[in-house]
């Protein structure tokens, strides 16, 4: 038969079904034409099995680095109604049922990502084998998009790996490598990629082993009504603890799997399809899909184009071995950049080494890397007090003290010691990149590169442009950030760049609420209940109250009364309350950095008279100034789209992903309503802090959304 997306070849009575046929892309997904072809193809093979022309089926991929990465997300995002979604899932289920029902041996030969719909296809085969390649990952990540696996994955996974393992895979959406897949019994064998098909042929002739005694015992232990109930209950508890109940999909998955546990295939799959239909049109899933597209978009550089071919810098260096410098040195060493780490003396250098050592050792402890890798990578950091080795360096990141004069002196000196193509970036969080650029003979090689603390945990990096920067500098930095497995956002120079600029009005407003007499715990909780990973008080402690006060002041100097800090903020730092770093801020912390409760000394500085404020009111008071400020950033052209603001806030401060981002949230709430409320606050609370931005005003007038501007 004539096919375009999937190949079918029959040789010696074995049907070879190859995905990724004629695919020019690096990834194979199950889009509409492919699914249609799959249906016809499987029916064709079914006929040949019946007529004894085919005695075994092998599924494989023509693409070297991908089995099947899952269903096409664009296809999912076009689903408009629950019944559309449920119908779509059923169509896939029918194909996979046919595969499962083939009366001959079937083997999926997996090399490269085998995810979502691809994983579900493999599960419908009697045997799954995979390559031991690093690229081979298996899993059902649907939950990350707010979905349930809809092609029978929740039905077949527990049958193959047992209920506890299946719940681990499905509820967290985690992907696993070949070794782990073999260990939990998801795959039957792991082989070199070149031998996959020939091993698949051997498996066709093999009688699958009966379950071992250990497996039978495990099955017996988990496959009965009572233990099942306990397992589901535990899973539910841990989901609620992890997601704080904000996410619907994992709970829906649990419901489907638990209520379906004793059902037959047809009725189970009907309920899975139903659940898929409900979830795929939910706002939460749409928001999470939105973020998926934002992240995919961020994987490609979309800044000013350069005429030159730009590649990621190969060798790195860091100036300043403090907390940030040590963290950046760790990052560079982890990406095999053999970084030089320069500071003025050995004591300072040891602080930097301590940073990276601590991060690596934590990885060793969690078995994410071997001691040998730790030693190799840690020792690839070359500590030095001179510029002698800087000739070979492609990228220098400065992370010294936040003082413009000192930085300028250092840059002027540095430029004499590096090659002409060396890119130089400053990890400043509060100074103007434009001012720093003045120190350079070649300002085009320089830009801001703002990492967040702690470097190993915070995924966002702001790349800050200035008027004289060359496009290739921005592109090289972008590629460096991507290569270090972080998320880059491009912006132009402005006070606080993106994240701090939007964060300050939020933190400020939270402080004003305290001064109005709102109990601190209420403010924290209102923000937590909105979905923020921590309340404003905890966040301030984490950042450091002195740092926050300093950044706040700089923003106040350039943005004016709108972001005037509360009078108390200086006093708090003067009293020595610096936050988590010295164990006392708004909260107290023990030696291990664990929070032990509110700090009574700070609480005493707040007004004695408390007022009650409604939770939604608190949320509006703190989140609306953020939206207002973000609209001004767009107005000033510091970022090119609302999407970038949303990406920055999700990865920079953990703005709740299920809300799709700050501005997407604003869009969904209705900008008119938001503008109206801001205006009310301007009238009743503070005219300056709530001065409605022109940009937002215009959007409302034109009846547009942030994402339509």
């Amino acid at each position: 038969m004539e096919t375009k997306n999937i190949s079918l070849e029959i040789k010696d009575k074995v049907a070879y079904i190859g995905f990724g046929y004629n695919n020019e892309k690096s990834m194979t997904t199950l889009d509409e034409p492919t699914l249609k072809e799959a249906k016809e193809l499987v029916e064709n093979v079914k006929g040949k099995v019946k007529s004894k022309e085919v005695v075994g089926v092998i599924f494989f991929s023509h693409i070297d680095s991908c089995f099947i990465a899952g269903a096409d997300i664009n296809l999912i995002s076009t689903l408009k109604t629950e019944s559309d979604g449920a119908f779509g899932a059923e169509q896939g289920q029918l194909i996979y049922n046919d595969i499962e029902d083939l009366s001959v041996p079937t083997v999926a030969c997996v090399h490269g990502p085998c995810l979502g719909g691809g994983m579900e296809l493999a599960l419908a085969c009697k045997t799954i084998i995979c390559s031991g390649d690093k690229k081979t990952i298996l899993g059902l990540p649907e939950v990350k998009l707010g979905l349930i696996p809809g092609f029978g994955g929740t039905y077949r996974m527990p049958k193959r790996v047992g209920l506890p393992n299946a719940l681990d895979l499905i509820l967290a959406g985690k992907t696993i490598n070949a070794k782990k897949a073999k260990r939990i019994g998801l795959v039957d064998g792991v082989y070199p990629k070149e031998r996959l098909i020939s091993m698949g042929e051997k498996w066709l002739k093999k009688n699958k082993k009966k379950a071992s005694l250990k497996e039978s015992v495990t099955d017996l232990a988990t496959d009965n009504f009572i233990t099942r109930k306990i397992i589901f209950q535990k899973a539910r508890e841990s989901v609620l603890k992890l997601t704080k109940g904000f996410y619907q999909a994992p709970l829906k998955i649990l419901d489907t799997m638990e209520s379906g546990a004793s059902k037959g295939r047809a009725s189970y799959l009907a309920s899975e399809a139903q659940a898929f239909g409900e979830l795929c049109v939910s706002e939460q899933s749409k928001n999470l899909q939105h973020i998926f597209f934002l992240m995919e978009g961020a994987k490609k550089y979309n800044g000013p184009k350069s005429e030159k071919q730009v590649s990621a810098p190969a060798r790195g260096a860091v100036l300043g071995a403090g907390t940030m410098g040590g963290g950046i040195a760790w990052l560079m060493s982890n990406s095999n950049m053999y970084p030089l780490l320069k500071d003025i003396n050995n004591d300072a250098l040891e602080l930097g080494l301590k940073q990276s050592s601590a991060i690596y050792r934590n990885g060793v402890k969690k078995r994410k890397l071997t001691f040998e890798d730790f030693e190799r990578k840690q020792r690839s950091i070359n500590p030095t007090t001179s510029y002698a080795g800087f000739k070979n360096v492609d990228l220098v990141i400065e992370a010294i003290v936040e003082n413009l004069d000192i930085k300028k002196k250092v840059f002027a000196d540095l430029e004499n010691h590096v090659s002409d193509d060396c890119i130089i970036a400053s990890n400043t969080s509060s100074l103007k990149v434009t001012d720093m650029a003045e120190a350079f003979e070649r300002p085009e090689r320089f830009a801001g590169l703002h990492f967040f603390n702690p470097v190993n945990k915070m995924p966002l990096v702001e790349i800050v442009a200035h008027d004289k920067v060359a496009p290739e500098t921005l592109e090289a930095l972008y590629k460096f950030v991507l290569a270090s497995k972080k998320t880059p956002v491009l912006c132009k120079d402005g006070p606080g760049f993106i994240v701090n600029r939007i964060l300050i009005p939020y933190l400020n407003e939270a402080s004003y609420l305290l001064m109005e007499g709102v109990p601190p715990q209420d403010v924290e909780e209102a923000c937590l209940n909105f979905g923020m990973p921590m309340g404003p008080g905890r966040l301030l402690d984490e950042v450091g109250l002195d740092v926050a006060a300093k950044v706040g002041k700089i923003l106040y100097d350039s943005l004016g009364e709108r972001v005037r800090p509360i009078d108390l903020s200086d006093k708090i730092t003067e009293l020595g309350f610096l936050g988590k770093k010295n164990g006392k801020g708004f909260f107290l912390y023990d030696e291990k950095g664990k929070e032990t409760g509110p700090n009574p000394e700070v609480m005493n500085l707040l007004p004695k008279k408390k007022i009650h404020m409604d939770e939604v009111e608190i949320q509006k008071r703190v989140f609306l100034p953020m939206i207002n400020e973000a609209s001004m950033i767009l107005d000033e052209g510091l970022v090119s789209s609302a999407a970038e603001v949303d990406l920055a806030l999700i990865f920079g401060i953990g703005f709740p992903p299920f809300r799709g981002g700050l501005l997407r949230y604003a869009d969904s709430e209705g900008l008119e309503r938001i503008a109206k409320t801001i205006q009310e606050y301007a009238d009743n609370v503070d005219a300056k802090r709530y001065a409605l931005s022109d940009y937002l005003k215009n959007l409302v007038e034109q009846k547009k959304k942030f994402y339509e501007a």
Partner: protein
């Protein structure tokens, strides 16, 4: 065959630390790899232009049988850069330089990293022959009964290990420990206990003086140490500021307990460390715009009776003088590795006294070496002797001393367990 000039572009070393102290946890290749990396970076050379990495090493850590190759990879050199390991006992590091010299001089190679490395802390304990045989028998046994029979042959003394380091320091031919060979020289050439202790004290004093004057700053590259690899070792662990002749005089002879004169105090301690040179041909110097610190003039190795191995430097130096036509008088600085005070003092007698020279069949009396030109920054007794590295380390130290003095020629020589000597002459180019 006409030989090409061979340049020593830059030479560096680790701080040296007594075995079991600061550097005991450093993975063995990392005692070398960062030296290569730093030299490459400072010279501004790409990672794919070096032809070969040659390292001397005697302990051959079981994990890294060919450590020269591993050092190159760990340093981030291109995978296509070949690498190997050489072993000439105490002169392994010098043997690496010698091989680099020949390859460049003959026109085969243009850029070579040659050095030496030793982690004496990590030298293994070995099972006795009885225990090894037992393991083999157990593995060979087919049935459970045969296995039990093999196991039943076990006796507790089988477990007492052989210390590889101790075995390595005992001559397999004459059966003498290296310390005993020093006692032979002390007896035959009349080196008193006091002379030995005075010399050992000099070594400590000069090493401390060099440290205080910042003389090591350039040649030593600091190295992260400790299990967490977050502390930096910047100087040698060995030289003692409070060393006195009286204090040394109180130590008991170690090898010949009653009648002997050689103590732990007037011998070199076992030590961890590494050192390396980037060697280059004239073409490579021009091509990569390098500024070599020295030229390697030539080298010579010479054998002698194993029980008098300490006199090796006398024969090797004599050989390299004859080969080059240079004389001891032309040497502005002489570095002789201090394995034992008695041994170094005997070598100096051999240079100066006809009777001693005759005893070793040397027809030239080379003369005295002025005190200020001889091991001017101390030597192995204070700094230690990481066996695989010392042959290169003394050349590194020599090159830096010649540079400081703006002097011309220098001789580096050392004795080699098993009865050999090695000597190298370099010419300083930094004026």
């Amino acid at each position: 065959m006409s030989l090409r000039e061979v340049y020593l572009v830059d030479g560096r070393r680790t701080p040296q630390a007594k075995a079991g102290t600061a550097l005991k946890d450093v993975g063995v290749p990392y005692l070398g790899s960062y030296l290569l990396r730093t030299i490459l970076d400072e010279q501004g050379i790409e990672n794919d232009v070096v032809d070969e990495v040659i390292f001397g090493n005697t302990g051959a850590p079981p994990k890294y049988p060919n450590i020269g190759r591993v050092i190159g990879l760990m340093a981030g050199l291109d995978k296509r850069t070949s690498g190997y390991t050489v072993h000439r006992n105490c002169a392994s590091g010098m043997e690496a330089l010698a091989q680099g010299y020949l390859k460049i001089a003959s026109g085969r190679s243009d850029l070579i990293f040659a050095g030496g490395i030793e982690s004496m802390s990590q030298m293994p304990l070995i099972y006795s022959k009885e225990m090894t045989d037992l393991f083999v028998n157990i593995m060979k046994a087919k049935s459970m009964g045969e296995k039990m029979k093999a196991i039943s042959a076990f006796r507790p003394p089988f477990l007492s290990p052989i210390i590889a380091i101790e075995q390595g320091l005992t001559d397999p031919f004459c059966g003498m420990n290296m310390g005993l060979t020093a006692e032979v020289l002390a007896r035959e050439f009349n080196i008193s206990r006091e002379e030995q202790d005075t010399f050992a004290n000099r070594s400590h004093n000069l090493a401390i003086k060099a440290l205080k004057e910042g003389k090591w700053d350039e040649e030593i590259l600091s190295l992260a140490f400790g299990e967490k690899m977050e502390k930096l070792l910047t100087k040698d662990v060995g030289p003692r500021e409070n060393s006195t002749i009286e204090g040394l005089g109180k130590m008991r002879p170690y090898f010949e307990k009653e009648s002997g004169t050689v103590t732990v105090g007037n011998s070199c301690p076992i030590t961890d460390g590494g050192s390396v040179f980037l060697m280059a041909s004239e073409e490579a110097v021009k091509k990569h715009n390098l500024k070599p610190m020295a030229r390697m003039v030539d080298y010579h190795f010479h054998g002698l009776e194993p029980e008098r191995m300490g006199m090796g430097p006398l024969l090797a130096s004599d050989g390299v003088f004859k080969r080059t036509g240079l004389s001891l008088g032309q040497m502005d600085v002489v570095e002789i590795n201090e394995a034992f005070a008695a041994q170094v003092l005997s070598v100096r007698k051999g240079f100066a006294e006809k009777a001693v020279a005759d005893r070793f069949g040397i027809d030239t009396v080379h003369g005295e070496i002025a005190e200020e030109n001889f091991n001017p920054n101390g030597g192995g007794i204070a700094l230690g002797h990481p066996v695989g590295s010392s042959g290169c380390r003394i050349v590194v130290t020599l090159a830096h001393e010649l540079k400081r003095r703006k002097a011309k020629y220098g001789l580096a020589s050392l004795c080699i367990g098993g009865g050999q000597g090695g000597a190298t002459i370099i010419e300083n180019l930094m004026n």
